[in-house]
Structure formats: C-alpha cells, structure tokens
Amino acid sequence: MQNQKLAKQLMKKSKTARYERFGRLLCLSALLLIMVIVIGIIAFIATKGMSTFMKDHISMKDFFTGTIWNPGAKTPSGHAAVGALPMIVGSFLVTILAAILSTPFAIGTAVYMTEISPKRGAKILQPVTELLVGIPSVVYGFIGLSVVVPFVRNTFGGSGFGILSGTFVLFVMILPTIVSMTVDSLKSVPTYYRQASLALGATKWQTIWKVVLRAASPGILTAVVFGMARAFGEALAVQMVIGNASLMPHNLVSPASTLTSVLTAGMGNTVMGSLQNDALWSLALVLLAMSLFFNLLVHFIGKKGAFSK
C-alpha cells in the first residue's frame, strides 16, 4: 500500500540525517578536545599547586595569611615564609581598580561606536582597538615605565611604582578587550528595541540607558569579566610598573606585587619540584581559584540582573 511505502521512505535514515550526526559529532569532539585541554591544564596546575601543601607540608594558613614571601626560608616568628597575602591583595586591587576605571570608559566608547556614530566607530575606533590588542605587553610595560611611572611619581608622590601605575597600565590594556566585546553585545540588541523606545517618546539617552544597555547587560558583564581576566593574567607589563615587591600595599603608590608578576619572574629561577617552584605553582592555583570566583560572582550578578529586568 502507498501508506507503507511512504512510511518506509520516512523511516529510512536519510543522507541528511547521517550528515547531521557526523557534523554534530565533529563539533562535539572539538569541544571535548578543548575540555581535555582545559581539564588537563587545571589538573596540572592543581597537582603542582597542591604539592606545596601536600608534599612540602606548608600550612594553608601560612600561605594565605602570611605576609612574607621567601620560599625556603623561615619568617622571624618561625613559620615558613610563603605568605602569599601581599600578592593576592595586589592582584585583587589592581584588577578591580582597572576594571572599575575602564568599564565606564569602555561602555561609553562602545555606545559611541554603536549608537551615536557607527560610521566613525567602524572606520576609526574599531580598527584602532583591535590594533591595541596586539601590542605586546612588554611594549605596554615600557611605555608605562617611561610615561606612567614618572607621571604618578610627580603627581601622587612616592617612587611612582605601585598599584596606581599598574592600574593605569592595565586600564589601557584591557580597554580594547572590553570595548570590542561590549560593541558586539550592543550590536546584538535588535534595532526594533531602539525604535520602539524612541517611538514611545524616550530620548536617545533614555533609550541607550534604559533599553539598549539593559538588554546588553549580560554581554557587557561578560566583557568586563574577560577584561578582568586579562588584567588578572597580565604579567610582563604590570611587573614593570607595580614595583614587584612582595609587601602589603599600604597605599596606592607604594610598591606592591601581583600573583602573576611574582609567578612569571620567579619561574625561570627556580628548580622544578623544589619548594620554591611549588610555591609559585600554588600562586597559579590561587589565580585560577580567584578567576573562578570572579566568574561565578559575575554570573550571579548577571542572573540577578536578569530577574529584576
């Protein structure tokens, strides 16, 4: 019967279906590959980082609350001198300050590029920001050293090396990242949102503030996270201007250090498997944990924002 013939035709796996399965598998394996790499690196850092505590028997308390960093030596009070607190505080401060400083600038610029003058934005600003991403950190570092540090020294006093200089350099470094990602998320806000808002009699500013930015806020948050991620992971440039002293920062112009700067500077000078080296990997682990924390925080904020909308 015709019915059964049709049923047969419809039940047969078509070439398209096989193609679909193949394509899906291909994409899945790409993702799995990335997952393997991610898990590999995380596991690698975790094992290396934990060995400070497991193998070298350093107590977590000494590590997280100590303020003297000289692995292998003892503090005057007899604890192991692996206090990572100054670096943790330093990383935290620099990242947060840089993000706070650059977010309004980045959003302003991105809004300008998408909402006010898209033409000029696409012609000038976008290529320039993309260009800046490619400037090696070491060049940023040297410009920071020859421009920002003297500026901070002359304006705010101190030696010029410190959190503030680090913040300024990072501000410029993460700006392109945040701008270009914010632009992407603003662009993905459908045009009819804007039209609807303008049609309701809202001013351009109200439209931007209440509609466009609100709609793009998850994307903007992601952009900021990525900016902070870059700030977190940045080493060479910050290292040159922050002073790189494992001291608790008492103000914004006193030399301080970040996890990455100590990590990068120390890696080549220590021997794999030694306490000195393990302690550096522990810093990397802290870094990982901190960026996880930031990430979750922002996701949390993002969710809250989504509800109140």
């Binding site: 019915n3 049709l6 049923a7 419809l10 039940m11 070439k15 398209t16 279906a17 679909e20």
Partner: protein
Amino acid sequence: MQTIFDTQSNERFIYHFNPEENSIEMQTKDLEISYGKTLAMQHADIQFKKNTITALIGPSGSGKSTFLRALNRMNDDVATVKGQILYQGVNINQPGIDVYEVRRRIGMVFQRPNPFAKSIYDNVTFALQRRGVHNKKVLDEVVETTLKQAAVWDQVKDSLHKSALSLSGGQAQRVCIARVLAVKPDVLLLDEPASALDPVSTSQLEQTLRELKPNYTIIIVTHNMQQAARLSDYTVFFNLGEAIEYNKTRKIFTRPKIQLTDDYVSGNFG
C-alpha cells in the same frame, strides 16, 4: 460527511471529514504540546484536506503558531509533542522518523522573510544542491519554475545572482516560498507570512497562494481575519491552547457555532 460535536463542553466544535474520503493530507490526533512544564496546546484533533487552504486564527498566545510548527516537527528542540501527527496516514511524530525528509515534504515559510545571505539563485537551489543535485540545467529550470510559481520571476529574473538580502520584503518572502517549493513539498506551512508586508505585497502573496492551491495543501497562520476569510477554505480558531472551532471558513465567519468564536471574529476580543 460526519461531524463530531464535543459533548463534554459546549464550547468546542470540530468539523471532521468522512473517514472514507481519501483526501485527508494531514491530521493530528489528540496532540499535546508543552514547553517544559507549560502546556501550550492540548486535545488538538484537526484534519487538513488535500489541496485546500486552511487558516489558523486566534489571539496571540493561543497556540496556533506552536501547533503549526509541530506539524513538520520544527519544535523538536524546544517543545515536547505528544499524540499523533498523520501525514498521508503515516504518523510522523514517532521515533525513527527522519525529520529532514518530513520537513522536505512539509515545507515552512516564516513570519519575517528570511532569505539567506546568498544570491537569489542559491537561495532557491541551496537545498537541492545540498541533496546532491548539481546539474546546472536542472537547477536553472527549478529556479525558473519555482520563482514563476511564487510569482516573483519577472521581478528578479535579471538579478538572479544578486544577493537576496537586497530584495524588498514582499519579493524576499516570495523567494522564500520559491525556496520551499524547490524541494517539492506536498504541504506548505506558512506562519503569518504577510505580517511584515505592505498591503500590495500581501495581496500579491495571497494571489500566489491561491495559484498554488491546486498542487499543494496549504496551512496558514494569520492574525488578519479578513485574510483568513478571503483566502482560506477552512478555518481553525484557537484560544488558550485549544482548538475551539474548526469549520468551513464561510461558516466560521458567518455562523460560528461557538460564542467565543463569534466574539473573536467580530472583533470583541483578541
């Protein structure tokens, strides 16, 4: 001819064709559609007659689009569909059915014209090319026939290799119809195909659909009751996830059996 009057509640009237009649192209049996835990459609038992135009009307959120999308299983990823969907007597809502073949035979045109970022020619032939048809002669012929069927050939025949994105809304929508016709479906599902078009384009589109009727079974979701009235042979009225009344269009618009339908078609709500 046989009609079933829902005796459980006096609020539904679903017209059913004579089972002996061999002209039912599609039919749903006790269809139930849900998004997650939200029930979007239930008790849908509708038959669609071959080579007719059936309009699905109802207020926003009544489930008419959801229903339409279930018919060629476009909802697979987002919704759970229970019940039977018979296409020429074969239940296509069962495991093992090749959805791609189903969708080829039951084509769909969407609310907003969505030409691909390709040339007009490629828009029309794309699906065929993906199915291994590469003979230029065949493809040329398909392009010409389908664009003519969709009544857009004269306007685009000189710019077949221009981007389809440059077309006006009405032209784009008819290219989208041609694109669907190119894979030779039996059923055409249209989801408010004219909502983004101006009156002139809309009436051209309607004319196109009338011309397609002898060869295709057309099911169209529309917001526009005049459109349903002038275009369709049968009309289903949906409300709150249920098919309330299904009858000949003439009857729906002149002598509806259900008060709710009357209220809706006379513009009292919706």
